[in-house]
């Protein structure tokens, strides 16, 4: 039952990164690549039309995590207090940027909300990556100082950074050079995904340039991925054990590698939707590989006193989980139906679609 909910939440979270990921990515591309007013407008629209239905996936993932793994929800959300609140603020800034840009016609108004949208998209991608980096690296559970815990073993509190700035420290902070690498991976991945989204949904003047950009970003992504794996191996020598024990899990990293390889041929692909499909697989492959290597751990412990947080010691009671299964399946079916209806009615390029409330 724990495993079912773990997978269900992973799916919802992955959906969030795939769906909201493209509008984060569109924001990053917007910030760095869009120069002409018409392009800026269309790119904002390609995110603005969809962001709120995409962000619902985050709310759903949060609710499900709360229900299925309440202890983990409690310890992770209070432990990552500062970065999470910062993420909330960035989400707000991004939303305002998207919603307000088109409200008045003069340029300075548009410029300020463009930057609000672009910068907060960039920082959000970075913070989500850093967050994932923290889950991989582990934290000082129980706030152990000199061999004794300050809190109950599953609670912790992370400062934004630790003076050593190193993932090897016993008391690492949220940001260190390893989590920054993962953060950059997230930024690059979402930028690729966003570029593919823009190419798919719009006819901006930079579409051709973006295809070339995807190629270059892909090289950077490959380098960063290799670097991160090397570092991860040095932080946690056992990090790939799961794949040895269960070779079937190798499917996930292979998916990632295949998508990464495929994206080098973006220019040659017959349909734009294939490129978008590849970056979708890239995100899915990246997230599932990470989760597969961690499983069943949710958050590793940095000390030997308090054990890792796993899906077994964090889960809700079995009655609650099985009741939730029955409504959960119904809910999922409904969500898929809404998704299909939406996609059908809003297919195609969005350049001339009316936008704004």
């Amino acid at each position: 039952m724990e495993i079912f909910w773990y997978i269900a939440i992973a799916v919802v979270l992955a959906m969030f990164f795939v769906l909201d990921g493209y509008d984060f990515g569109a924001g990053i591309i917007h910030l760095f690549c869009a120069k002409k007013e018409k392009d800026k407008e269309v790119i904002t629209k390609s995110a603005g039309l969809f962001w709120d239905s995409n962000e619902v996936w985050l709310v759903a993932a949060g609710g499900m995590l709360f229900m299925a793994f309440p202890t983990f929800y409690a310890s992770a959300f209070s432990g990552f207090y500062l970065p999470l609140i910062i993420v909330l603020w960035l989400i707000i800034f991004r939303a305002i940027g998207l919603e307000l840009r088109g409200q008045f016609k003069y340029q300075m108004w548009k410029d300020i909300w463009d930057k609000s949208f672009g910068i907060s998209s960039l920082l959000l991608a970075l913070f989500f990556g850093i967050g994932l980096g923290n889950l991989v690296r582990g934290v000082n559970l129980g706030g152990v100082i000199d061999g004794t815990s300050t809190y109950e073993g599953h609670f912790f509190f992370l400062p934004l950074w630790d003076s050593s700035f190193s993932p090897l420290s016993d008391t690492p902070g949220v940001i260190d050079w390893f989590t920054i690498i993962i953060g950059l991976i997230a930024v690059v991945t979402l930028a690729i995904h966003g570029a593919n989204w823009i190419i798919l949904k719009t006819n901006t003047s930079i579409n051709q340039k973006l295809k070339a950009l995807v190629f270059r970003l892909n090289i950077a992504l490959m380098a960063l991925t290799i670097l991160s794996l090397v570092v991860w191996q040095s932080i946690n020598p056992n990090c790939f054990d799961n794949f040895g024990k269960n070779p079937i899990l190798l499917f996930f990293p292979l998916l990632y590698i295949a998508a990464l390889a495929g994206l080098f041929f973006t220019k040659k692909l017959k349909k734009e939707v294939y490129a978008f499909g590849l970056s979708t697989l890239l995100i899915l492959g990246g997230i599932t590989s990470t989760l597969a290597s961690l499983f069943p751990v949710l958050l590793p412990s940095k000390n030997s006193i308090n054990p890792d947080l796993t899906i077994y010691n964090m889960a809700a009671d079995s009655y609650g989980l099985s009741v939730a299964l029955s409504w959960g399946i119904l809910g999922f079916i409904l969500v898929v139906v809404y998704g299909i209806i939406q996609k059908r009615l809003r297919a195609g390029k969005i350049d001339d679609m009316e936008y704004g409330h």
Binding site: L49, D52, S53, E55, V56, L58, V59, A60, G62, G63, M64, F66, M67, A68, P70, T71, Y73, A74, S75, A76, F77, S78, G79, Y81, L82, L84, I85, I91, I92, A95, I96, E99, L100, Q103, Y151, E152, F155, F157, A316, D317, Y319, G320, V323, A324, W327, G328, G331, F332, L334, V335, Y338, G339, I341, Q342, L345, R346, M353, E354, G356, H357
Partner: protein
């Protein structure tokens, strides 16, 4: 510890107060939009369709604000109330997760379709999408009220040796006797807010002699719905809730009614007075004898326990705030019924559109139902103190053990600043939409 609790509570109170400005409008407004769209389907008169589309624009602005201020609410259960989440998550997580899955997806998917899909879908489907938005927003309210009802009056649970609450009976969460009255009261109150806003915009157009045809429609619809909703908020739903509080939370009942001393032969109802916590009495009291006993139990001389009957640790920790919130809510509710009754009377006599003082009153009335709704929630939440889960888990036991008061103060100040900007931008957007009117020439 004291500081931590104080800032955690203050941050939650501040962010939820600001958040609840938006859903209280959207829930009621979605019903009015469905009504306008239905009138259009039946009559084919264009102004009804204009009204539906115009208010959906206002709805959408509020929905966006609701989403971005709502995510912090969900997060705060974990960030600031970690111990509470850990202990009760397997129960309240159910209803919160159901809200995400059953209502947000419904509401957000069909909102987008309503706004962008009228030409693609045809009128009947367009009506259906509007109806689904309504369904989604009310379902959302229902799940939140189910969560809150469990905290007010816990049912269907079992407490393990380690202090964790686990679910024993899922359906009990939805048959909770606290839930239905609270839900209906809340939804009717939300309908009050939205019909007053609709009426206010109508009055504004009439006074400005702009969009007259639409203005009259808004005003008329707003006051009729406003009168019905104001009456339903008071009776039976408000009455029903008060009886629940008297039955399940007698200490809160005494505090909100301002009964310091138990009266043997039936309790008086306090209309006005200021709680004096030092001398344990009400200053400047105006009260009517025996009415409270009658309203609560239909017996004139029924004894109602006052605050003197409860230990200090069982009483709400902020009696004056609870008392004032309750009296402000009830007072405003009464005034609303009066004004709306007046307005409907003059509508019936076909004089309403000419009586300027009344139109002005209706126009400036719009903020007050917000105050009434929010003070109503303060009654519920302050009344539940000093508990998070009534009678079982104290508020002091629920906060995050690792988040220091300094960190919470920092984020609280951040939220205050950010929400100030957000509030200003919200007003600009709504103002612009109202200024453009229901039939803008070109977007």
């Amino acid at each position: 510890m004291e500081d931590m609790l104080f800032y955690d509570r203050l941050q939650f109170a501040f962010t939820i107060t600001f958040h609840y400005i938006f859903p209280q409008l959207t829930m009621g407004l979605s019903l009015l939009i469905v009504f306008f769209k239905w009138k259009f389907l039946r009559s084919k008169i264009e102004k009804y369709n204009d009204a539906a589309k115009f208010f959906m624009k206002i709805f959408a602005i509020n929905f966006t604000m609701g989403v971005v201020t709502g995510i912090p609410m969900e997060f705060q259960f974990g960030t600031n109330w970690a111990k509470f989440s850990e202990l009760t998550g397997s129960i309240i997580g159910q209803t919160l997760a159901m809200e995400g899955l059953f209502s947000f997806f419904l509401e957000s998917s069909f909102l987008a379709l309503f706004i962008f899909g009228e030409k693609l879908m045809g009128q009947k489907l367009h009506f259906l999408t509007g109806f689904l938005v309504f369904l989604g927003s009310w379902a959302s309210g229902y799940f939140i009220l189910a969560t809150n009802a469990w905290m007010q009056h816990p049912v269907g649970y079992e407490i393990l040796d380690n202090g964790k609450f686990v679910l024993e009976n899922f359906s009990a969460l939805f048959t909770n006797p606290w839930l239905l009255p609270a839900f209906l009261h809340n939804q009717m109150a939300s309908l009050v807010t939205s019909s007053f806003v609709v009426a206010s915009i109508g009055a504004f157009y009439i006074l400005r002699e702009k969009n007259l045809e639409h203005g009259k429609l808004f005003l008329k619809t707003g006051i009729i719905f406003g009168l019905v909703a104001s009456l339903l908020v008071a009776f039976p739903t408000g009455d029903w809730n008060a009886k629940n509080v008297a039955k399940y939370q007698p200490a809160s009942f005494a505090a909100m009614e301002g009964i310091f001393e138990t009266e043997e032969a039936g309790a008086e109802i306090v209309l006005i007075g200021q709680p004096n916590m030092l001398e344990k009495k009400l200053d400047n009291k105006i009260a009517v004898p025996n009415i409270l006993s009658f309203l609560t139990y239909q017996e004139w001389d029924r004894q109602i326990p006052g605050m003197d009957q409860f230990k200090k640790e069982e009483l709400p920790d902020n009696v004056p705030a609870l008392y004032y919130s309750y009296h402000i809510m009830v007072g405003l509710g009464t005034i609303f019924i009066g004004i709306m009754a007046f307005a409907v009377f003059f509508l019936w006599r076909k004089k309403l559109f000419k009586i300027k003082p009344l139109l002005w009153t209706i126009m400036v009335l719009a903020p007050f139902p917000y105050i009434a709704n929010i003070t109503g929630w303060y009654v519920a939440e302050l009344g539940r103190q000093p508990y998070l889960v009534y009678g079982l888990l104290r508020t002091t036991e629920g906060i995050s053990p690792t988040v220091s008061s300094g960190n919470t103060l920092f984020t609280l100040l951040g939220f205050v600043g950010l929400y100030l900007i957000l509030g200003l931008l919200f007003l600009i957007l709504v103002g612009k939409t109202v200024h453009e009117g229901p039939t803008p020439k070109h977007h």
